[in-house]
């Protein structure tokens, strides 16, 4: 039975999650140098085309089609076969199947876009597209199926409300692989990689935060109390991450920064994502504070260690996914969501073990397969990186024949 309230809410949520991809493009683009603005934006924005194509023809069926051995969906819903205005018998049974399909599509779109932050300012456009297409098929779709499509991790009891594992850990692990395979930008440690436009980054942060209400709130798949819980938890965790990061900077570096505020907010929002609909707001505040602290520490460590995860995909999204998923194992309570689970604090230590198992499996799978896919893409395309000369001139001119600022 179609519920009009649920349907309206999820359609709107889908639009909000779509907005997050261009928002992410702005968030990232503000942090790169002015010669790489459009190259960075387009690597995210093009995912709307690449992944939507993939999703409607095979991705949706692989992720949410009838289960094959717990590993993958079958291909009975290829090209949206049987996906119409009637509800699915299995998923979100109060909204049209098409609405569920397009809502999930927006998640698949933004996930590879997240990876672009790790390879910013040096990866070729064509190879990135090819890698993203492979990656969506071989990493995103299976992991999505394992957890949300009734696959083997769901059977084991692993929970992920809105994508701590499916979105943030998969992209974070892929980012780690990409950093190792591509190597650092030319001049790391010598040249100044300073953000060229932090107002742009803050605009992106604001739009991401707005979209996140659809990302997490909509993951209830109904306009109900669980959506309300997720909505509030999302906001308070973003708030707590922001507050923690700024406070740490103020204490350690004597001055709070705008980029720190944006980074802390995104860390809090990403970290609460897997838990948003399964915990109470007090737990969400704690998770946000922990996210601000941990991601700040991770980013500081990265700078010292010399890894060029240029825009901190691993330190913010990857780590956020890990911490949030594990915290869910601690703070989950059936009092907040009867369809969820009880975690460690509710006396159920085994759920925490289950969540840690989920993190290890998804993290390892995404890292290893991403590494292999990057190597394969490297061979097919004859190189992943732009030439040293093009890297010096910048991607905007050399890859797109455009300039971001004509003044």
């Amino acid at each position: 039975m179609i519920n009009t309230g649920d349907t309206a809410f999820i359609m709107l949520s889908a639009a909000m999650v779509l907005l997050m991809t261009p928002a992410l493009a702005l968030f990232y683009a503000g942090m790169v140098r002015s010669k790489n603005v459009l190259g960075t934006i387009l690597q995210s924005f093009i995912m709307i085309a690449v992944v939507t194509f993939e999703w409607i023809y095979i991705g949706y069926s692989m992720s949410f089609g009838p289960d094959v051995g717990g590993l993958i969906g079958n291909l009975s819903m290829v090209a949206l076969n049987g996906v119409g205005s009637e509800p699915s018998p299995t998923y979100a049974t109060t909204i049209p199947h098409l609405v569920f399909m397009i809502y999930q599509c927006m998640f698949a779109v933004i996930t590879p876009a997240l990876i672009t932050g790790a390879v910013a300012e040096r990866m070729r456009f064509g190879p990135f597209i090819l890698f993203s297409l492979f990656w969506t098929i071989v990493v995103y779709n299976p992991v999505c199926h394992w957890i949300w499509g009734g696959g083997w991790l769901a059977d084991k009891g692993v929970l992920d409300f809105a994508g701590g594992l499916v979105v943030h850990l998969t992209s974070g692990a892929a980012a780690a692989a990409a950093v190792l395979v591509l190597g650092p930008r030319k001049g790391l440690g010598r040249d100044k990689f300073m953000p060229h436009n932090l107002p742009m980054t803050l605009l992106g942060t604001g739009l991401l935060w707005f979209g996140w209400f659809g990302f997490n709130g909509g993951s209830a798949l109904a306009a109900d109390g669980i959506a309300a819980t997720a909505f509030v938890n999302t906001h308070v965790a973003g708030m707590a991450g922001l507050a923690m990061w700024v406070a740490l900077e103020w204490f350690l570096y004597k001055q709070p920064t705008t980029l720190g505020a944006a980074s802390g907010a995104i860390a809090g929002l990403a970290t609460v994502t897997p838990a948003a609909g399964f915990i109470n707001p007090q737990a969400a505040v704690f998770i946000g504070l922990l996210a601000g602290f941990s991601c700040f520490a991770a980013v500081t460590y990265k700078n010292k260690a010399g890894f060029d995860d240029s825009l901190d995909v691993v330190g913010i999204h990857g780590l956020g996914g890990v911490i949030g998923t594990i915290c869910l194992g601690i703070f989950a309570s059936k009092a907040s969501n009867p369809g969820g689970a009880d975690g460690l604090l509710a006396g159920n230590a085994s759920f925490l073990t289950t969540q840690i198992f989920g993190v290890v499996v998804v993290g390892a799978y995404a890292f290893v397969v991403s590494f292999i896919l990057l190597k394969i893409t490297d061979i097919i395309c004859g190189g992943l990186r732009v030439s040293i000369e093009d890297e010096t001139v910048g991607l905007d001119q050399t890859a797109h024949s455009e300039t971001a600022y004509n003044m």
Binding site: K192, F193, M194, Y253, L259, S263, V299, T300, N303, D312
Partner: protein, 112 residues
């Protein structure tokens, strides 16, 4: 005739301009410049990564005056631009062979 080039802190520009107006200096040329001297640069921090920014924004004003006015103009600029802190800037005085007003073709002091 002399050219006076003064590199000053940008926020002192209005004070210098007003002070020069009051002693009858009717025109100047302004350039945004970056540089460093004893003040050196400053540190910027982005997500914990520290970058030394060597070149600090300054403005350079250029004024052409009759030779006898040089001391008065220099004193005026100094008193208007000085904060007493490091980085207040420098003044250069250069000889000028001739000045020609494009509109009328006047030359020398007449053209200033």
């Amino acid at each position: 005739m002399k050219k006076i080039e003064a590199i000053i802190k940008p926020f002192k520009l209005d004070d210098v301009k007003d002070a020069l107006n009051q002693i009858g200096i009717t025109g100047m040329t302004l350039t945004d410049v970056k540089g460093y001297g004893r003040q050196k640069g400053h540190v910027e921090i982005y997500r914990g990564a520290e970058y030394m920014v060597d070149f600090i924004p300054k403005v350079k004003i250029g004024i052409i005056v009759p030779s006898e006015k040089v001391d008065e103009v220099v004193e005026t600029i100094i008193s208007a631009a000085r904060t007493g802190k490091i980085g207040d800037g420098k003044i250069f005085v250069l000889p000028v062979d001739n000045v020609i007003r494009v509109r009328t073709g006047e030359t020398g002091s007449e053209a200033i």
